[in-house]
Symmetry: C2
Subunit: 259 residues, 2 copies
DNA sequence: TAATAAATGTCGTTT
DNA sequence: AAACGACGTTTATTA
């Protein structure tokens, strides 16, 4: 039975063919691709208008929608997941309306010509893993504190502090309290400001000695002065190195497991 | 001649058919859509691994690439414009490699089954207009200063200040220097901090009286205290209202033009 | 190229 | 729902 097909596509279809396929695809929560000539209107947090041209429209089963032009990484218009799809056909135009209750946002694509459409039941349960994130850097330093400096001993993995969290709290070889802020990219003045916020909250008893260390692959030029002014320190560590360290950690864990 | 066709697509093609079409599409800088079962690897600023599943791959003529799963607004993997595409076929697998010189980033999608592909020459010269941005809010207040408060007079549209720019600088009905920072979303503590940075630079002669006004649709709760502490003010204005004001401005301009 | 701030930012987490 | 910070943030603007 045709309705049971996992996919349906057509090149240069009529508006009616596309309309019927899209309508069915919305109802069945399929992955929908439409390429054609359209204009686009958006009203919500901002407003936008896109004059006619040939673009790709994507409607996903989770209620997200994207309109992509032939250039750029980012979609020219979109709606986040949870939006509602509706389509209609009138006056030789195919309308796809995407409504999002939050922020009362409406996205409308109006096609006068369809070049291709595809309606597919996509099965995707693959796991996605991202490595060398800030969290990985934190884990790596906790696993191998000498990455920061010899003699460093972490106290607790993450201690909640008023504005957010200190990434790592510990004690140096002299026993001095040491706070560590981690950035996976070049640290900026903003990073230093963030570190100061933490210091201000922690360092209420001013007579207590404390070290503040900013960890990042690089330190921006402007940030150097500020860091020096505040008497903070910088330690260059790349996320890639941390990723390597974690790899060792995991292989060791496995070794231990099979020992 | 088949090579001159503006588009070519196929449902459930063989890997060979897809490979040939993609290769030609890359060479001719076409808009390429591939749906199929694949795994994905990324190495660059971070590293990532995506286990097999059915996804959509987009290769654009400007060298940007996107891999979309059946859910989420954002692509699971991508490369920005300017990347280089390459494809190969071996051992029953179709590889699409996207290389970006900056950051030495590599994205690889390896397909073992293609469900659909489409290679199209997309023509899109339509103009995109976005309204109700922060810049629009600035323009609207400059055009109708009473939006901020009665008697306010802007001095210069944008006066360069050390860290970035003051959005609006002016004088209130009493002649007091007034600096305005605009946010198109709910203003946060960060917004207030930004305002303070500007104040610190401008207000070098401390005896000069100065007013700091934060303009935004809303003020976050935590930001209220900080604002009060610093003696700054808040004025609620929505980007949508500003957009309306600008619409009037433009219609007036047109009226004047035809008068 | 570096720095800075905006974005319909999105996304996750915690309160 | 609000607040907060990370993101392979991206993108634009300016020095």
């Amino acid at each position: 039975m045709e309705d049971q097909a996992r996919q349906r596509a057509k090149e240069v279809p009529s508006l009616e063919e596309a309309f019927n396929a899209i309508k069915e695809g919305i109802y069945k929560r399929r992955f929908i691709i439409v390429v054609g000539n359209c204009r686009v209107d958006y009203r919500g947090r901002a407003n936008s208008k896109l004059d006619p041209g040939e673009r790709l429209l994507i409607l996903k089963p989770d209620g997200s929608a994207l309109i992509h032009r032939p250039r750029d990484y980012s979609p020219v218009n979109w709606q986040p997941p949870g939006s509602l799809f509706r389509t209609s056909l009138s006056n030789g135009e195919l309308l796809v309306r995407v409504y999002r209750r939050k922020d009362n946002e409406v996205l409308e694509a109006i096609f006068d010509r369809i070049m291709m459409f595809s309606v597919i039941d996509l099965k995707d349960a693959g796991e996605f893993s991202l490595y060398a994130t800030e969290k990985d850097m934190q884990e790596a330093i906790l696993f191998q504190p000498s990455l920061l400096e010899e003699g460093f001993r972490p106290i607790s993995p993450e201690r909640p502090v008023e504005p957010g969290f200190i990434d790592i709290m510990g004690v140096d070889r002299e026993g001095v309290l040491t706070l560590v802020e981690i950035k996976r990219r070049r640290a900026t003045k903003e990073s230093v400001a963030q570190l100061k916020k933490y210091a201000d909250v922690i360092n209420l008893d001013k007579n207590r000695k404390i070290r503040m260390i900013l960890v990042a692959p690089e330190l921006a030029k402007g940030a150097q002065e500020l860091l020096a002014t505040l008497g903070y320190e910088f330690k260059a560590i790349t996320p890639q190195l941390c990723s390597e360290v974690l790899k060792q950690k995991n292989s060791k864990t496995i070794t231990h497991f099979f020992k």
